[in-house]
């Protein structure tokens, strides 16, 4: 049995759906790169042709599954990620930034819940699929919400709220009000820059997040190697060991600092960066940040309001109980929680990691 999902908020997509191009919904005919490039979102996920079998997510030609070593936390959802690069084009390897995928490319991410968290990957109930399309005018983010029959996902510019249930590893039933972001909210996390120069950019497909093995249908291969073999990427070191790599946040063999920094990087640094929306805080959480004050050590809050929790510092070394970062991670109050969007539950294990990291710091 699949997890029950009810659509609480009527999904209104009138204008964009009306404006969406009426592309024929052909299966197995390849990806509609022209549609991606045009900047007009298609009405359904299936219309793009990313998948030969849409519910099963069996990828079409030049669509490659991938994952991140340490992924962003989103309400315990599993994520199915795919990259598409049009025939005849490639991205160029860059050790320091998200790969610059060519126009006509897309990143596709489906958020899905197994009915039983003890059996990950099985009996999946897809909730939403986010398509990040590299159009002629830059990246555009489009949210798609899966229909009740789980046959396809429909463009939902206004997002949605969905009751999502699953069985936890301990056997309890958990139900949350899952928030599919609207188009503005998609952009809020993906935006870089200020004023009229703001640009939407992807988060994640970067060497440091991709550089590990992935179990492809035809065998296990390092993702950086595979992307080149598949003709999506050019350049980069022959040996992946020479490329940057972040720790897996829950890898028991990795160092505590490396795990915590990787976790903060993927969950926070897209916003907490000198060119990100949270730059005004002066708190920068990229894994390469070396200034302790920018990282939060003895850094006083600027505009945190009650998000400070009564604490003086983002990180009070040795004292997670008086540090603002874990306080904000450990809340679902919209006036306190971080990130501001994208979760309605607390990531208990993530909070524990950051607390352990701060506790282990020298005072």
């Amino acid at each position: 049995m699949t997890a029950p999902i009810a659509i609480c908020r009527k999904i209104l997509a009138a204008a964009l759906i009306a404006a969406a191009s009426a592309a024929p919904q052909m299966a197995a005919a390849g990806v509609d790169s022209a549609a991606i490039q045009s900047g007009t979102p298609l009405k359904t996920l299936s219309a793009y042709g990313f998948f030969d079998d849409v519910p099963a997510h069996s990828p079409a030609d030049r669509v490659l599954p991938y994952d991140l070593i340490t992924p962003l936390f989103t309400d315990y959802a599993e994520k199915l990620r795919f990259v598409y690069v049009p025939e005849g084009k490639t991205a160029a390897y860059n050790p320091d930034e998200v790969f610059d995928l060519p126009v006509g490319s897309a990143l596709i991410k489906t958020f899905t819940y197994p009915a039983d968290m003890a059996r990950p990957g099985e009996d999946l109930r897809h909730v939403e699929t986010r398509v990040l399309a590299r159009t002629d005018k830059g990246w555009r983010a489009y949210p798609y919400v899966w229909n009740a029959e789980m046959t396809d996902a429909v463009l939902s510019p206004l997002g949605a709220k969905l009751d999502v249930s699953w069985q936890t590893v301990s056997g309890a039933t958990r139900t949350i009000s899952y928030a599919v972001p609207n188009m503005n909210q998609c952009r809020s996390c993906h935006v870089k820059g200020l004023g009229r120069d703001r640009e939407t950019t992807p988060i994640g497909p970067e060497a440091k997040h991709l550089n590990h093995d992935f179990a492809y249908a035809d065998g296990v291969t390092n993702q950086l190697v595979k992307w080149r073999q598949a003709g999506l990427l050019t350049g980069g070191p022959d040996n992946p060991a020479d490329a940057p790599r972040l720790a897996r946040w829950d890898d028991p063999d990795a160092g505590l600092t490396e795990r915590a920094r990787a976790y903060l990087d993927i969950n926070c640094a897209h916003c907490h960066a000198p060119d990100g929306p949270a730059h005004t805080s002066g708190l920068y959480l990229d894994s390469r940040e070396t200034d302790p004050a920018h990282l939060g050590v003895y850094k006083r809050p600027v505009a945190a309001g009650r998000g400070s929790g009564g604490h003086d510092f983002s990180i009070d070394p040795g004292s997670p109980a008086t540090s603002i970062i874990p306080y904000r991670m450990n809340s679902t109050d919209p006036g306190i929680m971080m990130p501001e969007l994208g979760r309605t539950t607390i990531h208990d294990e993530g909070v524990a990691l950051i607390r352990d990291w701060i506790a282990a710091m020298d005072e």
Partner: protein
């Protein structure tokens, strides 16, 4: 809810230029734009939702206020005017706009009310991430975080907008009412801000700012200009806050070295609300009854203000008091002029440890104008360079001769070399004072719009 086609029509009628927008507003008011009707909810304001409500209900039977308004914000084309009819909109989620040159227009700050009492998601009531936006004639109430945040805009105008937490001062209220940050060309005119647990009107890390004709009350800080360049704050009333008007510069931020701020013609009275900021926030240290406070900025003019009934002091000029690790930061106030103000009934009950420290040096009542005297050590030894001191002149107040009383607390020796400590009531020796600042000038079209809308 009107058909979406109406919104798209705005592009035809309002092709994004100010002239066209104004012309369209005059020629075809309201109908060509995109009114969003209030959901049929009892506002308790005496206003009945407008006639469009019926139409809205028919068009989208289950549309809630959030969906209706957020849809209009997402579908808007540059130049669009999104109208919010009178009524009370109960919003479950934060709203956001990221289309340039859009106007959001209500029927009045007491008629069109966006209430976030039941907010479930979003860190602010309304988030604006685009440029050239005008927000006018509506209110945002009881947001879970900040009421209206505008980030990174070139051109943002607030006209007759109210931000309020309706339960009065409370540490659980959001931090900021009107909150433009990292913006350029900011105009806040005729606004009202109440109940913010940090600052009612807060302009941070911005450049070229005017805050005028506004009322800030029952906030921790009434109006605050922080880490910003070139700001004019005038013709406002700041009353019943903890501190009336604050001009601050803080370390560790992308934009610092705040300078060129004029605070004039304001009424700064009765700031008598006990500090209710959540701990950890810098304004948590502001003593109740601080009229105007200048911290670590350079080039600030405070003139022609009426400052009365403030229990700690009238104007407080201080260095940044905390430790910091930021080599680029300069913690001392320099080039500060305080003149032509009137002070009445000041310093009668200095508040918190800062007030007590001041009173321990100055006695009670605390003088009308207080400077901590904290300067870089080489200035202390060699004297203050020209135009970088504190200049106090021509104020009316509580001194025997009718001028304002003043004290340089000389705090460095107070803590370190107490036998040399010599607080002074002499006006600082600072010949001629500081050159008058030119003030802020907004782009002509932004001012023109503010005059005519």
């Amino acid at each position: 809810m009107p058909p979406i086609a109406d919104i798209q029509d705005t592009r035809r009628f309002l092709p994004g230029t100010t002239a066209a927008l104004l012309a369209a507003l005059l020629a075809a008011p309201l109908t060509a734009t995109a009114p969003v009707a209030a959901s049929a909810q009892d506002g308790g304001t005496g206003d009945t939702p407008a006639a469009e409500t019926t139409e809205a209900t028919e068009a989208t039977e289950t549309t809630d206020a959030y969906t209706a308004i957020q849809q209009a914000l997402i579908m808007a084309e540059p130049g669009a005017v999104i109208e919010l009819g009178p009524g009370r909109y109960e919003l479950s989620d934060g709203l956001s706009l990221n289309v340039d040159d859009v106007t959001i227009k209500g029927a009045g700050m007491d008629k069109t009310i966006l209430s976030f009492r039941g907010q479930e998601t979003g860190a602010e009531g309304l988030l604006v991430e685009s440029s050239g936006v005008t927000l006018m004639d509506f209110a945002v109430e009881d947001a879970k975080g900040d009421a209206i945040k505008v980030i990174g805009a070139d051109g943002i105008t607030f006209l007759r907008v109210r931000a309020e937490w309706t339960n009065g001062p409370d540490a659980l209220n959001g931090a900021y009412g009107l909150y433009p940050v990292a913006c350029k060309n900011v105009l806040i005119d005729g606004a009202v801000a109440r109940g913010a647990s940090d600052a009612g009107i807060y302009v941070g890390q911005s450049d070229n700012i005017i805050v005028r004709n506004s009322l800030a009350e029952y906030n921790v800080a009434g109006i605050e200009i922080e880490n910003s360049y070139v700001a004019d704050v005038y013709d406002n009333v700041a009353r019943h806050n903890t501190g009336g008007i604050l001009v601050f510069d803080l370390p560790g931020l992308p934009q610092q070295g705040g300078h060129s701020v004029r605070v004039f013609n304001n009424t700064v009275i009765d700031n008598d609300t006990p500090n209710f900021a959540p701990a950890g926030n810098i304004v948590g240290g502001v003593p109740m009854g601080t009229g105007v406070m200048v911290m670590a900025n350079s080039k600030v003019e405070v003139f022609k203000n009426r400052i009365a009934n403030n229990a700690t002091t009238g104007v407080l000029i201080v260095a940044y008091p905390n430790e910091y690790e930021d080599e680029k930061y300069y913690p001392y106030p320099e080039g500060i002029s305080v003149y032509d103000n009137s002070f009445e009934n000041i310093g009668f009950a200095p508040d918190n440890e800062i007030g007590e420290l001041i009173a321990s040096i100055s006695g009670t009542p605390v003088p009308d104008i207080v400077w901590d005297g904290n300067v870089p050590f080489w200035h202390y030894l060699a004297g203050i360079p020209e135009n970088r001191g504190i200049y106090v002149g021509e104020n009316a107040g509580s001194a025997d001769d009718g001028s304002a009383s003043f004290m340089d607390l000389d705090v460095i020796p107070f803590f370190t070399l107490s036998w040399f400590h010599s607080p002074s009531t002499d006006l600082p020796d600072h010949a001629g004072g500081v050159d008058a600042l030119p003030g802020a000038t907004l782009p002509a079209d932004q001012e023109e719009k503010a005059r005519t809308l």
